[in-house]
Every structure is written in structure tokens, then in C-alpha cells.
Symmetry: C2
């Protein structure tokens, strides 16, 4: 079945990485894929645009079904291959509710992280303000402190929505992984950093690690968070 799949992706993009982790967890190794360069604007190429009018990555095709939004792709894969590989959405009502809750809370983390870490990328120079940058950093700190408290409550060795790896980790980890890469403090966020050390060794995560992330860090922009 993986032979009928085609993934267009970019290195280091959390949405792309999610899909790759989900494919690994659902034992769909052997899918076709093409690594594209954001710098060269290959995500705006005709090949992508005809499948994805937004010109974004991931762009994903399974047979004649096209799904491009990263969480939609992951949920589609879970629904289509429910009994194959890791079950990513639990049947138990309460467990399922928590997994869904954490999946969608990740959107807030992603937004706060982008606003802070990629401020200069998104905001043209004449519109930049130190007050805005400080506010974004404070917001990210508040957000990451909340996730630290979630993991603390969950107990040692837990994943982000329970004792088992789930869809919540598939969605959360590729966003969260930027924080350690930019120097997140092990002292102030011990539960998150312990989670990071555990999940980065997971085979699905290791084998889909962004190729340009081989060098260990992206800098220390977040070390004072």
C-alpha cells in the first residue's frame, strides 16, 4: 500500500515531519517521497501546485486521494490503517479525549513558537518592535510552562497524553523539538527535556529526523526562556 503513496516534504518542517512519523508508526515504510527545497521555492513548483493549490508542504497522495494538511494526513492514515502498526488514537473514551485535546493544543504552541523564534522571518524590518518580540517570548514561556506542568502531572516516562505513544506525540514532538534545538533549559523544564530524550530515540522519530538537523543545535536563542 505504501507503494501507492507519494509525499512531497521539506527538511525541518514540523508539519512534514509529523506525516513521516505517522507513516513509520503505521508501518508504511517504502512510500515514495521527494525532498524539496524551501529556499529554492520548490514548494511552489507546478508539480506541487497541481496537487496543493496552497503550494505548501507536506503534499500527500495515496492512490487518487490527496490530503495535504498535516493533521488531516495523520488522521487519515490512522483511520485507513487502524489495525496496522501503532494505534495512535485510543478506543477508551477518556484516553481518546485527552489525545484529541493535546493534538489541538499543539496549534497554540506552534503559533507561539513561530511568532517568537521566527519573528524576523515573518515580520518585515520596518514593522519590527522590541515590545512585540518581548511579548512573543513571554507568551512562549507561558505556553511551554503549561506543557511542562502537563508532563509533570503525567508522571515519569509518560508521553504527552498518557502512558502510550499516541497521535498527540506525532503532532506535538516535531513542533516541540525546535525548543531543545534552540537551547531550552534542562534545569527549568526537566520533564519536557526528559520526554525529549526519550522520544528522540524512538525508531519512527530517529529514522525521520530532519537531515539538515544533523548538527546538534540551531543556536541559543531560547536558552533564557
Amino acid at each position: 500500500m505504501a507503494k501507492d503513496m507519494m509525499l512531497y516534504w521539506g527538511s525541518g518542517s514540523p508539519p512534514c515531519w509529523r506525516v513521516m512519523i505517522a507513516l513509520e508508526e503505521k508501518n508504511l515504510q517504502g512510500y515514495n517521497h521527494k525532498l524539496l527545497s524551501f529556499d529554492k521555492k520548490e514548494h511552489k513548483s507546478e508539480e506541487v501546485m497541481k496537487l496543493n493549490p496552497r503550494g505548501q508542504l507536506p503534499t500527500f497522495k495515496h492512490g487518487d486521494v490527496v490530503v495535504n494538511e498535516s493533521i488531516a494526513v495523520c488522521m487519515y492514515l490512522e483511520n485507513q490503517f487502524k489495525s496496522q502498526g501503532t494505534q495512535l488514537i485510543p478506543d477508551d473514551v477518556k484516553e481518546q479525549a485527552l489525545v484529541l485535546q493535546r493534538v489541538f493544543e499543539t496549534n497554540t504552541l506552534q503559533q507561539k513558537m513561530y511568532e517568537s523564534l521566527f519573528y524576523n522571518y515573518f515580520i518585515p524590518e520596518p514593522e519590527r518592535h522590541e515590545s512585540a518580540q518581548n511579548r512573543h517570548k513571554e507568551n512562549l514561556k507561558t505556553e511551554i510552562t503549561l506543557w511542562e506542568s502537563y508532563l509533570q502531572q503525567m508522571g515519569k516516562g509518560s508521553f504527552v497524553a498518557g502512558r502510550s505513544f499516541s497521535m498527540a506525540d506525532v503532532i506535538f514532538f516535531p513542533v516541540f523539538a525546535f525548543l531543545p534545538r534552540f537551547g531550552l533549559s534542562k534545569e527549568r523544564y526537566p520533564h519536557l527535556m526528559e520526554y525529549y530524550e526519550m522520544v528522540k530515540e524512538r525508531p519512527s522519530v530517529k529514522s525521520s529526523w530532519p537531515p539538515h538537523w544533523v548538527e546538534p543545535t540551531g543556536g541559543d536563542a531560547l536558552s533564557d526562556l
Copy 2:
């Protein structure tokens, strides 16, 4: 079952409205609810905060299960009451893929709409720039033109992801409804406006219409979009 449910909500909030439409569509009328005032900061009250550390609405409880993120609540309700009321996520592979795709694309519409329509609310006065406001309005125009093309391709009388009302409409409509409210042009977006006229008459939408939206418009801020 609806008697075990409690919804804290705010009038006109797209995330709250989604949950209310989903509850209606799943025949869960009779749920308990409490209308809170954002102006009075009632969403930061202890009653809400103990269920939702983010202090946001909706906050939703079903028995001892708490789910607060709006799309998570809607998906939870669909999973728990699959064979009750309207089926919101189709079984058919291709139809399901399109529903999921449009559900998650709505996040982009929501972001572009908030950035443009609520610029002055989110950006402190000393950080405002006309160039940013113009860019946000252009981005919203690009976004809404894409949705207009989706509806055009789908054909007359279609919903946002097919011939049937689905989860995509539950998620999309409460965001989209702001645009007609702020003067979206019937001439330039005929398919979207036809969709609007159809869906606003749907019983689930009518009975959950934001109480403070009784007056027909919010202004003409988007009439030149």
C-alpha cells in the same frame, strides 16, 4: 446523555459556535450550558480555570471527561455518538479525506481573518503599521478567493466538502460567517454567499446563532475585499 454535559461558551466565538452546532447535529439538545462574558473576563473565572488552565471558551465537560479545544470536542462528539444524528465524518475514503482536509484548512482562514479583522484588538497601538494591515487584508482576500473556488468546483447546492453537511461545515461556517457580517461582496464571492444563505437556515445553525448577532451586520470593513 446530554444531561451529563456542560458547556461554558461566549457569544460570537467561532470555537464555541462549532461545538454548539455539533451538539445540535448529534441530537444532544438539552445539554447544560452557561453563557459567559468575555468583556467581564468570566472566561478567566475559577469555575472555568479549574477545568481549563488556558481560561478559554469553549470549556466542555461530559461526565468526568473534559475536552476544551473546539475541533477536539467536535471530533470527540462524533466518535462517541457516531450513529446518532448527522454523520459528520463519512466512511468513504475519498469523502473522508476531503472532509479532514477542509477541517484543517479552516485554521488558515481563521488566522487570516483574525489578523485582518481584529488587527487593532491584537496589536497594541504603538506597534501598528498600515503596511501590515494592507498585507493582512491581501492575505485574507487570497484565502477567501481559494474557498470561493472550492465551492465553485463543488457545484450548486454543495457544502464545503461535498454534497452532504459534514464536520468541515461545522468547523468552517462559524469562522466564515464573520465575512458576510462584515460586508463580504455577493458579486465577487457568489458561491460562498450562496453557501452562506443555505447554511444559515439549517436548524442546528439557526438555533445556535450568536445572541448578540441579532442585528444583521457588524459593519462594512470587508465590503471592498
